[in-house]
């Protein structure tokens, strides 16, 4: 060690990099470096905190919506109460008074209650949907008429809220939606074990409803599906054709510059403006039906196109020019070059851009409001020309509803929407991972 060090002359004190001032400068530089890294970490931490707060908040508010309170009723399907004859036809059965038998069955739960007001409190515990449920059962099996059956029917949303603990019993009665009398009734039903929470299948199978316990997102999901199908069918081929032309064919001149600037501008146009455009052009000028997923899809196509074009052009740009030269040098025509070599290589990037554009379109609300997809629609749409609503619009509608039970359903619908969005973005990531960079 000493022998080797003796062969080196001691460092010259004159070197500007070994003085104390230099060491000080180095320390300062290193601490600046550290601080810079900390800023980035802090930003990421902040972002993660916001996202997790959002997710936790939505999940904690919304998870209760996946359960719904049901109550057991002994229903006597008396032909007299149903107001049907001795051997009723299907029409008569369809129009029968099921609410009457439900009310009777409810009153039978508390035979000791006789006052009209008090009896009203009892019958209000059952959802108005109970009658529909019975109707469906009887229509499927007319022999039920005249028999007494035990059924579980959805409880009213107020009961649901009490059971889930969303209604504060300590509030004065006047500020509470559920009166003291009903609270006692609910407690007595719970003691008897004929009220319980079950998985809320209605939420996933029904359309919208004024009654929270009967409302579901299926109508909105189907509406969103039709809308996105139209959007995808239009924006994917148009976007890719535009990107291929601009990237592979168009000469670079003032016109193409102008087009490029305008595509970028289009991406920045507020979505509600596209809604107005859709209203003016597709509905008023072309006379397409209002509230239809077809029009929604057309409007969202306008919105998604710039995203897809920009992403596709970036994907085309990332294909090395040497591949194009190789193809052209072999005597491939431009179309052969694009179809055989460039497009297959750019496709993962294009698909990623398309999926991200679709995810954007799925979450878009404002333009759909303008074209009437905000209507209250109970039926599940049967095609792209039926009146429909979309998932984000459904969230908007429910968030606007006064019933306490819609709060948790709003959050539940948001969770479903987020699940779709996360699934789509995950698909984009997987596509990118699997197919990108093969040269």
């Amino acid at each position: 060690m000493s022998s080797t060090s003796s062969t080196f002359p001691a460092p010259q004190p004159a070197s500007p990099h070994t003085t104390d001032a230099a060491r000080e400068r180095l320390r300062e530089r290193q601490s600046r470096e550290r601080r810079f890294r900390w800023y980035g970490l802090f930003a990421i931490f902040l972002g993660m905190a916001f996202v997790s707060t959002l997710f936790i908040d939505i999940a904690s508010k919304g998870y209760t919506a996946f359960a719904q309170t049901y109550m057991q009723l002994e229903v006597t399907l008396d032909a007299d109460v149903l107001e049907v004859g001795p051997s009723p036809g299907r029409d008569a059965l369809a129009r029968a008074n099921y609410d009457g038998v439900v009310k009777r069955a409810a009153r039978a739960l508390f035979p000791e209650i006789t006052g009209r007001r008090e009896q009203r409190q009892v019958t209000d515990l059952v959802s108005p949907g109970a009658g529909f449920l019975l109707r469906e059962m009887v229509m499927n099996d007319p022999s039920l008429v005249g028999r007494t059956i035990t059924v579980w029917v959805p409880a009213d949303d107020d009961v649901d809220m009490v059971v889930k603990g969303h209604i504060d019993r300590n509030l004065p009665e006047s500020e509470r939606r559920v009166k003291d009398g009903q609270l006692t009734l609910i407690d007595r039903l719970r003691e008897r074990g004929i009220i319980e929470q079950r998985f809320n299948t209605t939420l996933f199978t029904a359309g919208d409803s004024r009654e929270p316990e009967l409302a579901g997102i299926w109508g909105a999901v189907v509406g969103s599906f039709y809308t996105l199908t139209v959007t995808l069918a239009l924006s994917f081929p148009i976007g890719i054709a535009a990107a291929v032309y601009l990237e592979e064919y168009a000469p670079k001149n003032r016109w193409t510059d102008l087009i490029e600037v305008n595509i970028n501008n289009l991406a920045a146009v507020p979505s509600i403006v596209f809604g107005l455009l859709g209203l003016a052009v597709f509905i008023n000028f072309f006379g397409l039906p209002r509230s239809a997923p077809l029009v929604g899809g057309l409007v969202l196509t306008l919105m998604t196109l710039p995203t897809i074009i920009i992403a596709s052009r970036a994907a085309l740009k990332s294909v090395p020019p040497s591949i194009r030269e190789a193809a052209l040098g072999m005597g491939a025509s431009r179309m052969q070059m694009v179809l055989h070599h460039v497009l297959p290589l750019a496709m993962p990037g294009m698909l990623t851009g398309t999926i991200i554009g679709m995810a954007q379109a799925l979450g878009e609300t404002a333009p759909l409001l303008m074209i009437g997809m905000v209507a209250f629609i109970v039926d599940i749409p049967g095609g792209p020309l039926d009146a429909a609503t979309a998932l984000p619009v459904q969230i908007y509608l429910w968030a606007d509803s006064p019933e306490r039970a819609f709060v948790e359903r709003t959050s539940a619908a948001i969770m479903v929407l987020l699940a779709f969005l996360i699934a789509m973005n995950a698909l984009a990531v997987i596509l990118r991972r699997r197919f990108e960079r093969r040269w």
Binding site: P320, S322, A326, A327, L328, M330, G331, R438
Partner: protein, 297 residues
């Protein structure tokens, strides 16, 4: 761009070929500050495959090559040398109209391939590039299998119909490119998985699979190690029996090893052309001499 080219050249194009009294020793004009006064040496050969006269190329405002006249003889290897930016690659790319893919590029003059005007509007560039193949500086196999790389050209030009025919063309081309033995068992593997030298030989196999008349090579060995380079050079020598080869190279040793004729370019001018031996042992122009003796470049 293309139509502009055709218009601009239509006046200079006449039926038959006017050969200027180029070459010889008579300078065509007064020497410029470099001492350049027209090409020195014989631009003409007896059995030309490609004949170019007064070719000018502009990239926008930049005059990339100026009045270049040169013949490429059948079954010869001609190398083009010169310092960077001298226009040798540009000249090469005129021969199969690859310059057209560059925006703002304009070509005037006459380029004949076996008497056919290369820049004639009626001549399909697809057919031209099948007749004049090209190998690029960086090996650029398609990201497909080795087999598909070679089969691509014959397929798009409709030269093969059945799988058996394709198999035969692929084997023959790889054989000629000296690659068959190395890849015969893994034709389905991606061409991009080969080593650099193998990739370049694959590109050569791909080029000769369509049976071109001329092969243009743009610095084919600049990305390769000396051993791979030697293999490619051997290959070029073998290919000469069947094809005409024009090669651009930065290595004067390579030019000396593989070519029969050499053309020296300087700042867009074709300064001197002649037998490779004569160029490297007894250059007639001062600029050529300065370059090959290493005074610049």
């Amino acid at each position: 761009m293309h139509s502009e080219t055709a218009e601009a050249t239509s006046e200079t194009r006449t039926p038959g070929l006017q050969v200027k009294a180029a070459g010889a020793d008579a300078p065509r004009r007064t020497p410029d500050e470099r001492g350049f006064a027209g090409t020195v040496g014989d631009v003409e050969v007896d059995n030309p495959r490609i004949r170019t006269r007064d070719v000018n190329v502009w990239y926008g405002d930049k005059h990339a090559i100026k009045d270049v006249s040169l013949d490429v003889g059948a079954n010869e290897v001609i190398s083009m040398i010169g310092p960077s930016g001298c226009g040798k690659s540009t000249y090469l790319r005129c021969l199969n109209r690859m310059n057209e893919t560059i925006d703002g590029c304009r070509v005037t003059g006459t380029i004949l391939l076996d008497g056919d005007d290369v820049y004639d509007k009626r001549l399909d560039v697809v057919q031209l590039r099948a007749r004049v193949g090209m190998v690029f500086q960086k090996p650029n196999p398609f990201p497909k299998s080795i087999y598909d790389n070679v089969a691509y050209g014959p397929r798009i030009h409709g030269l093969v119909r059945t799988r058996a025919e394709t198999d035969e063309v692929v084997e023959r081309s790889l054989e000629r490119a000296g690659l068959w033995g190395e890849v015969r068992d893994r034709l389905d593997e991606p061409g991009t998985g080969l080593s650099g030298g193998q990739q370049q030989r694959l590109c050569i196999a791909r080029a000769i699979a369509v049976d071109p008349e001329v092969i243009l090579m743009d610095e084919p060995c600049s990305a390769l190690d000396p051993i791979a380079t030697a293999r490619i050079e051997e290959l070029i020598d073998d290919l000469r029996a069947k094809y005409t080869i024009a090669i651009v190279t930065h290595s004067m040793q390579q030019a000396a090893r593989v070519s029969q004729r050499t053309a020296y370019f300087h700042l867009g001018d074709l300064v001197e052309v002649g037998n490779t031996n004569q160029i490297f042992t007894n250059p007639r122009h001062k600029l050529t001499e300065d370059y090959i003796t290493g005074r610049f470049g």
